[in-house]
């Protein structure tokens, strides 16, 4: 790594001092108070004989008393503490400056609000010596809560924004198959690794540790999680507000979009090479939009249920929204592109789906439309309890019959002979093309509807006319009719239907006599 013009590096007080084993790098910006705590803990390290380390404080263009604080510590430990100035703002620049200034084969990173454990340096050295296959080691970051009571919503799943990390008490390797991120507040990397994969990316003022580790994993390197490597972070009150968490997730979403994090981590949580075939809308794959919609629905559901997990969904929503927004603005687009891209996105998706099911996109669209239309028609009638043949709520026999009675309208024919006998027109041949049920219902619907009641006479005349026509055509052997009469019949139901021909009540509603005209026809 070549030195930059904006970097100013102090040489150690004694140039003859031997090369240290570990360089601890702290990039700081206007946090001189908390920096003291960090430096105190670093200077109080319990190291075995033969293990030497240096502390490099990178002043990232601070405007407070950082320099004088560091000078004070330099006076206390001139061979151990070094001051480096980096004018370019950004923690990546600061850390890269620290890497450049470091002389040890191991570069350990921590933050200016961290208190490291008394054997932090020794644990790093031991772990990396014992595991030469590990490119880096990282460990737990435990919280030091403020005295105030923690908010109830701040459950373990909200620890990300607080830079708290605890993956348990078992060591493991993070790699492309288990890409769990270790944070630079407690991370030590072999210096040679930076020569292979490059330093922290200045494009990432945040999430630069994640980006670095993704490059490590992509280069098939492994990072060891060491549970004994513990630091403590002070959680100030500001970080306990929902606003802080929302902002953090929004920022995280933006930098995740730069890393294309949603694309390179698959659904099983493994790091993958993003396939070239991903279909994007405004730079974001379609599944991210689906995740956004699903998350929005989940958030809404938890909100209306008064579920306490709703802030987590709100934060995830914030993350995805900013992911989408950042991806959309990553590349400049003309107004035309903004307009046409959705249709191209839909068409590409349709083509892919159609290919997968061996159909043409047009046919797929047509069939989906038909499915939706049929489902909508059925559901609408079901929900509205209305009939739109061929859709229907199928409400026949659905009303509860409470009384063992029956009231129906029934048409009777009056024979033209001297007996003037009446008989019910039930046989389908007499009343074609009606049947007994259809005719009775049609007549009832007309008779009981005052607006349509005047039609009852022409209806009866029509039945009489067609009866006679059918009889004369030899299509039935019924007797000639003189008239048809419409009755309202009422029964008390008999268990054996024995009273079928003798209803309890019989009330004539209408009658139509055969006229000469009917006889002629």
């Amino acid at each position: 790594m070549k030195p930059d013009a904006t970097i100013a590096i102090d040489t150690p007080a004694s140039a003859s001092h031997r090369r240290p084993d570990v360089s601890a790098v702290i990039s700081t910006f206007n946090r001189c108070e908390s920096l003291c705590r960090t430096l105190d803990s670093l200077l109080a390290q319990e190291v075995p004989d033969g293990l030497d380390y240096e502390i490099i404080v990178v002043d990232n263009n601070a405007s407070d008393l950082t320099r004088s604080v560091v000078e004070r510590y330099r006076a206390l430990a001139p061979t151990r503490v070094r001051y480096v100035f980096e004018r370019r703002q950004g923690v990546s620049y600061g850390r890269n400056c620290g890497i450049h200034a470091s002389r040890a084969p191991i570069v350990a990173f921590t933050d200016d609000d961290i208190k490291v454990g008394p054997r932090w340096i020794e644990t790093i050295k031991t772990a990396l010596d014992a595991h030469p296959e590990a490119a880096a080691v990282g460990g737990k970051i435990l919280p030091e809560w403020p005295s105030a009571v923690r908010p109830a919503w701040l459950t373990r799943q909200h620890w990300g924004p607080l830079s708290i990390l605890d993956y348990g008490d078992q060591p493991f390797y993070t790699s492309s198959s288990d890409p769990r991120c270790l944070l630079t507040a407690n991370l030590a990397v072999r210096r040679e690794v930076f020569d292979r994969i490059g330093p922290f990316s200045p494009a990432f003022p945040r999430c630069q540790d994640h980006e670095l580790q993704i490059r490590l994993w992509q280069a098939s390197e492994r990072v060891l999680y060491v549970p004994d490597l513990v630091v403590r972070t002070h959680i100030d009150d500001e970080r306990l507000t929902k606003q802080y968490h929302r902002d953090w997730h929004a920022r995280h979403g933006r930098y995740a979009a730069l890393m294309r994090l949603q694309e390179i981590i698959d659904s099983s949580g493994k790091l993958i090479a993003p396939p070239d075939t991903i279909i994007r809308l405004y730079g974001t794959p379609g599944f991210v939009y689906r995740e956004f919609i699903a998350e929005a629905l989940t958030w809404f559901t938890t909100l209306v249920r008064f579920d306490r997990s709703h802030p987590a969904h709100r934060h995830q929503l914030q993350y995805l929204a900013n992911y989408i927004r950042r991806a959309a603005t990553a590349e400049p687009r003309s107004i035309r592109q903004w307009v046409t891209e959705p249709s191209a996105f839909v068409a590409a998706h349709l083509r892919r789906r159609a290919n997968a099911v061996a159909m043409s996109p047009r046919r797929l669209m047509l069939s989906v439309a038909l499915v939706f239309a049929t489902a909508f028609g059925s559901l609408y009638d079901l929900a509205a309890d209305r009939e739109h043949w061929p859709f229907s709520p199928y409400a026949m026999f659905s009303y509860v019959e409470r009384q063992p009675t029956l009231k129906v309208l029934r048409l009777f024919g009056v024979t033209g002979d001297a007996s003037m006998a009446e008989f019910p027109l039930l046989d389908g041949r007499f009343i074609q093309p009606f049947d007994q049920c259809r005719l009775a219902t049609a007549l009832a619907g007309t008779y009981y509807n005052p607006a349509r009641r005047p039609l009852i006479t022409p209806m009866l005349r029509d039945v009489l006319e067609r009866y006679e026509q059918l009889r004369r055509a030899g299509l039935h052997d019924g007797p000639p009719l003189q008239a048809v009469r419409l009755y309202e019949l009422e029964w008390t139901l008999d268990p054996h239907a024995a009273n079928l021909s003798s209803p309890d009540r019989r009330h004539q509603l209408a009658e139509v006599q055969r006229t000469e005209e009917i006889a002629r026809r």
Binding site: S267, F287, R290, I293, R353, A356, V357, A358, M359, R363, L364, S367, L370, V371, T374, A375, S378, L379, D381, E387, H388, W389, P390, S392, P393, Y394, A395, M396, F397, S398, Y399, V400, E401, Q403, P404, L406, V408, L426, Q432, P433, D435, Q436, C437, R438, T441, L443, G445, T446, L455, P458, M459, R461, D462, R466, W491, L493, D494, H496, A497, L500
Partner: protein, 337 residues
Amino acid sequence: MGSRSWLQRLTNYWFEPAAPTNLCASRVLFYSGLLVLYWSEDFRNWGSVSQAFWLPLPAFQALGLRPLSVDSLNVIQVVWRTALALSAIGLFTRVSMIVACVLGFYLLGLPHNFGHVFHFDALLVIAMVTLAFSRAGDAWSVDARRLGRPQPPPSGEYTWPIRLIWLSMAFVFLGAGLSKLRHGGIAWVASPNMAIILTRAAYHVSDADPVTTAGLWIAAHSWLSETLALTALVVELGFVAALFSVRARAVLVPAAACMLVGIRLLMGPTFGGFLIVNVFWVPWDAVLAWVGDRRGWARRNRTDPESPRGLAVSRGSRRASDGAPREYVLNRRRPAS
């Protein structure tokens, strides 16, 4: 379940590439069934019914459809039956299925415009519309043979029509079940309601009279009629499960068919059309494979006199070696020597 896998499952359900066998065999049986069912149905007379009866369905009103003259209806029903026949055998299948659908919609819908709407043929219309948009003529058709088309590869084209007809049928039963709960509630089961319905059926209130008087006997036993009501409700509400579960399908589809037959026997209403639609539930490819296996097995055993079932029938012989007719031998175990 993530949204991606949810969508994938939905896509698989509707469009999983399948061989055309199920759809095309169902097409043959469905249109054949329709032809048989409506062979004797005469739609001409609806052309002579007085306008006083005319109470158009929303669909007919929207499309401005009116009853045509007797002669026109005669022509239409002849063309429709021809289209049904052509659709069944698969000649000019695409056109004939579209014609069958359009004319079927008019002819089957026409009788419902005269004051009463029956539901027994609504599903047939939906099935015809679905098939009109489908590729059900790609196999098992004269067209395929005439044009020398090879068996088409598996495609989602042969899955979605079947699924859509399933869905439509599930909506029918679900609608019936939900309507009962909505209008009747639990009293639909736990009351003399079913007994009253069964007894009323004997008073000529349906489109056809019950085939048997068993309904009256059931109505006389309250526990039996209530069990019947509960069973009907369970089948109707549970039918949706047949969409997703093979086991549920094996139980509910026959149960629903039995229920429709039971309605005809005990109460009168006729649901012949619904029964025809059941052909879409049958996995014809599995049935054919099973039949093929059986035939292959029988062939193998005819040439293997030592077969465990003892089907010692010589090839080409109409009689078994012991002189008994082959059909008899096929169903008989060989006596222990």
